[in-house]
């Protein structure tokens, strides 16, 4: 399902980053940084809430906001709910795991078709240690890590969609389907999400009658070092498409020689953090396809050894 948008633009953005992100290649583009996982708060959740609130306030000072769409990785969107209680604007909480960023853009852009909605704020938030605790083990526990595991990014982003014309246009979107190729290992997110990603990309190219070369950059969310190769092979074998101009934000967001991040970054904020900093500041890239991938699981599903479903949505952004 591919939908076209006529006049939806990205008007403003704000990005902050914590440990690992601030020292990485995108460190210099951040609006503000914080030094450690707590940033002076008592718990990691409070830290995440504080940073996200700061991000929303930065954008709110500069612009009008009609609706806030938020997503994060905590149980029942606790972070977004608490932040929006403090902000007090009309609010929708959305969850599609790490594909939430694209889901928010799709819903935000559709909302903007209403005459009385002018600006929609989209926020994402992820924190390495809150999601570690939510999906895996207690934070101080030194669980054995697999080489193909990803390392959740600690960053918060806000992006304002608007009808006012700017040089960044949200052009069209493909809504993905939930896929499942029988992977049960929750550490191996790359393998879980690659099939959904491959299908959405294929459907997007088919619906828009474009080829891979029409884009200056095709960016997937958080497949990781190994998932990236799996996607390339899958595209070739299953759909006969050779991927070029392609990269994965998981592999780009941290320093390349850092062994601690294992297979790369992941989390809701992984793609938007990279996209809103490095990509939109790169003058060479004019046409971008964003493929945010999400693994739709919770700990119950994993503990019962069930297959993990995944989803991927595509957004095409054009620089005018």
């Amino acid at each position: 399902m591919t939908i076209k948008f006529d006049n939806i633009y990205i008007k403003d953005k704000a990005v902050c980053g914590g440990p690992f992100i601030k020292d990485g290649p995108i460190g210099k583009y951040l609006d503000f940084k914080y030094e450690d996982f707590l940033d002076g708060e008592k718990s990691y959740e409070e830290c995440e809430i504080k940073e996200l609130e700061k991000i929303i306030n930065i954008i709110r000072k500069r612009n009008n906001i009609d609706i806030v769409l938020s997503s994060d990785l905590s149980n029942q969107l606790m972070i977004s709910n608490v932040v929006n209680k403090k902000i007090g604007l009309p609010y929708l909480g959305l969850y599609n795991a790490c594909a939430s960023f694209c889901e928010e853009i799709i819903i935000g852009s559709s909302l903007l078709k209403n005459r009385n909605i002018k600006d929609v704020l989209i926020t994402t938030s992820s924190h390495n240690l809150t999601s570690e605790r939510n999906f895996r083990y207690p934070t101080e526990y030194g669980a054995l890590k697999k080489e193909y595991q990803t390392f959740t990014v600690t960053s918060q982003t806000g992006m304002l969609l608007s009808k006012d014309k700017t040089n960044l246009k949200v052009e069209c979107a493909t809504i993905g389907r939930v896929m499942d190729y029988g992977v049960t290992d929750a550490n191996d997110m790359g393998s879980v999400m690659a099939p959904a990603c491959a299908y959405t990309l294929y459907e997007h190219l088919r619906d828009t009658k474009r080829s891979v070369k029409d884009y200056d950059l095709i960016l997937t969310g958080d497949l990781g070092k190994y998932g990236k190769e799996i996607l390339k092979e899958l595209m070739k074998e299953e759909y006969g498409i050779k991927l070029t101009n392609y990269d994965d934000t998981a592999c780009l967001i941290y320093n390349k020689d850092d062994k601690r991040v294992l297979a790369g970054g992941s989390g809701i904020s992984c793609m938007p953090t990279y996209f809103l900093t490095k990509v939109i500041n790169d003058k060479k890239i004019k046409k971008i396809l964003l493929l945010a991938t999400g693994a739709l699981f919770n700990t119950t599903l994993v503990n019962q050894k069930k297959q993990i479903p995944s989803i991927c949505h595509a957004i095409s952004v054009v620089k005018l």
């Binding site: 008592k42 101080e140 526990y141 030194g142 080489e147 193909y148 190994y226 074998e237």
Partner: protein, 146 residues
């Protein structure tokens, strides 16, 4: 593409599991903890009123204390990253997982937080430890008369 074919495809790209360096580090670390424990037993049994079995209990308490303390200081998980099973298989691993859970849930209160979650990771060790102790106790009683 069916699930089986996909599994074959992913296997091609995922890293292979065995790593000689990790094996060696774990082996040496586990051995070192054994050696350290033995030294502790010898030292403790030097005291005039401590028997050999009491000394080994004291050794375990010492190891548990050290592992919990280092977890509290926040660097024990980094050590486990390095030495892996060498630190997890000895009693230090048990102490570490219990302390880590306690630290994690202390914000949720004494009863619903620490009380309910302290054995979240190590609970299965306790349960199956007790069950197997019962079973082997019964077997020993039946065949060897206690």
């Amino acid at each position: 593409m069916n699930n089986k074919k996909y599994k074959r495809l992913t296997k091609k790209y995922l890293p292979k599991k065995i790593n000689i360096k990790n094996l060696l580090l774990s082996f040496l670390c586990g051995g070192f903890i054994g050696l350290f424990g033995q030294i502790l037993i010898t030292v403790y049994s030097l005291a005039p009123n401590i028997s050999n079995s009491e000394a080994s209990n004291l050794m375990m308490v010492t190891l548990i204390f050290l592992a919990s303390l280092f977890t509290g200081f926040g660097f024990f998980d980094n050590l486990i990253d390095l030495f892996k099973a060498g630190l997890i298989i000895p009693i230090t691993g048990f102490a570490h997982s219990t302390t880590a859970s306690a630290m994690e849930y202390r914000n949720e209160g004494l009863t619903t937080g620490i009380g309910a979650n302290i054995f979240k990771l190590s609970g299965s060790v306790i349960l199956y430890g007790i069950v197997s102790a019962y079973l082997f106790g019964i077997i020993r009683y039946m065949f060897f008369g206690g």
